[in-house]
Amino acid sequence: MKKKVAFLSNTVTKPINRFLPQYQCSSFGINTIAQTLNTSIDTDYLIILLDINYFASDGFLSDKSFNKLADLVSLLKIFRDNNSAKVILSNTAGNFLDINSSINIQQHRKVFDLNQQIDKINNIEDMTVLNIYQLVNYYGFKDFYNIKNGFLFQAPWTKVALIAIADAIIENINLFNNIRKKVLILDADNTLWGGIVGEDGVDNITVDENYPGIIYRFFQQQIKHLKDSGLLLTMVSKNDLSNIKEVFSKRNMPLKWDDFVIKKINWNSKSQNIKDISNELNVGLESVVFLDDSDFELEEVNSALGIDIIKISTNNPVENLTIFEDLLSIKTLNISNEDKHKSEQYLVQNERKNKQKEFTSIHDYLCSINMKITMFLNNTSQIKRITQLINKTNQFNSTTKRYSESEILKMMEFYQIFSFSLIDKFGDLGLISVVIVKDNNIENFLLSCRVLGRMVERKILYLLTKSNNAALTADYIKTTKNHQIESFYGQLSIEDKVDDKGLKKYYFPEKIDNVDFIKEKK
């Protein structure tokens, strides 16, 4: 059964349908925009494709254009409440006709400001931006627009544009459903720089401001951006450690030694090193991508592990600059604050593990790291992270009930949705737990796996009991992964019962012992 795509546009969008044969397409005229967005639409995806004339008056943007966008965003929020369809809203490329350069610059500034505002809809659940501005820059205004056809038929797109827009729509739809890779595993020689450091020497590898070294710098910069978007970088290289370290200390490069959370620089097989990385990071092999210039190494890894591999070109390194453009599995629609600091979080976590080894008992260690926990109630500003935790946590999750952002916002009117953040002497771990309570019953209790084993759950149950000033009960639905919470509830409860639907209810005493070494932060 084909998924449904509905267009809402001030242009004729039917010519795009030809390039979206995998979808069942329909369209709504812009005159019905308020009516359309106020009702429930039977579609999986709503594409709002607006050319400049929607915002502009006679082709030119003005301050009124921003009011029109604000009205549209208000309508979209109403739409969000009544529909489950995912929304893709186009930004705008503006009018590139050069009437007068100062007017043109003014208009471009307005286009830029308008697009910045449009970009904010990325913060609304299941909404994203179709980057028409980028497409027009890539293909050129004259190859993208047919002005006369725009006026004659309200169909301003050339065939080039129609295909590009259809491809961008498909990519955005795929990204809505994409499970993103977590780790990039990179070779070093002839991948991060040109040449082999062990043979050519640190001064002769190419990674500088001249051709072809400049290409490797650009490639490294792309990788650095991927790191900043939440991918963990690791390195696997058959080399002497001292050689690679020397490159990072002597050569000025965009990527630094500490950008890589794990470095496996040795003479072991690459498949073994990749397996070790997967174990150390606690991520499955399906979540990693391996990049190398050597067919031998790629084949060895592929046959041993069957993971995604990417060939790096040594003959024409400029080709490498387009690798990530087409690699959907590393793309994401939204970059959360959490994503931006993933590498740092991993390194701090590693430091915690190393410190832990210095203590003879886990209790002594936990007492030494100055944990402070903060409790929040129905905090809408944390909605993105709360939703992420509810939908991603599997191990310590009492019922694995999943909720969307809008559902959680609605629940906050009737439920107590507690959230907890944690800091310790190594750094801020951010929001690490969510507990959903109704009438003194814990309907869902979940804790990020990053803080398992720190007795944080005990402290949270203590705080909840204290806050509600009552004996609590808790629901538990068994899954293949959530046995930890069953034993936690079992240790602290005084009674449990299973109903005929398989729901287990635990009964806790009125007082739960405090965990002194985790301080409450007001």
Partner: protein, 90 residues
Amino acid sequence: MIRKVILDSVAEVNKELKSEVLSNLNNDTLIFENLDSVAVLDLVIEIENKLQQEYGKFIQIADETVMDEIQTPFKTLLSLTKFIESKVKE
């Protein structure tokens, strides 16, 4: 050359329409009659795209007569060929 551009463009648009008439074109085949308005637009876009590839420049073929049942140059293959030839010469 222009005839080939038109035949290829009609074939492209007809992939979706699957019209038997349009898959066996001769000079007198009624094209416009066998297209809905979106398909006419598709055909305009296809022809403009192929002309740009052939001649290396954009040649605008659409005007206010295109969708006009009586005046349309898209009536038959012959009329469309003559019309495009005149546009290319402009």
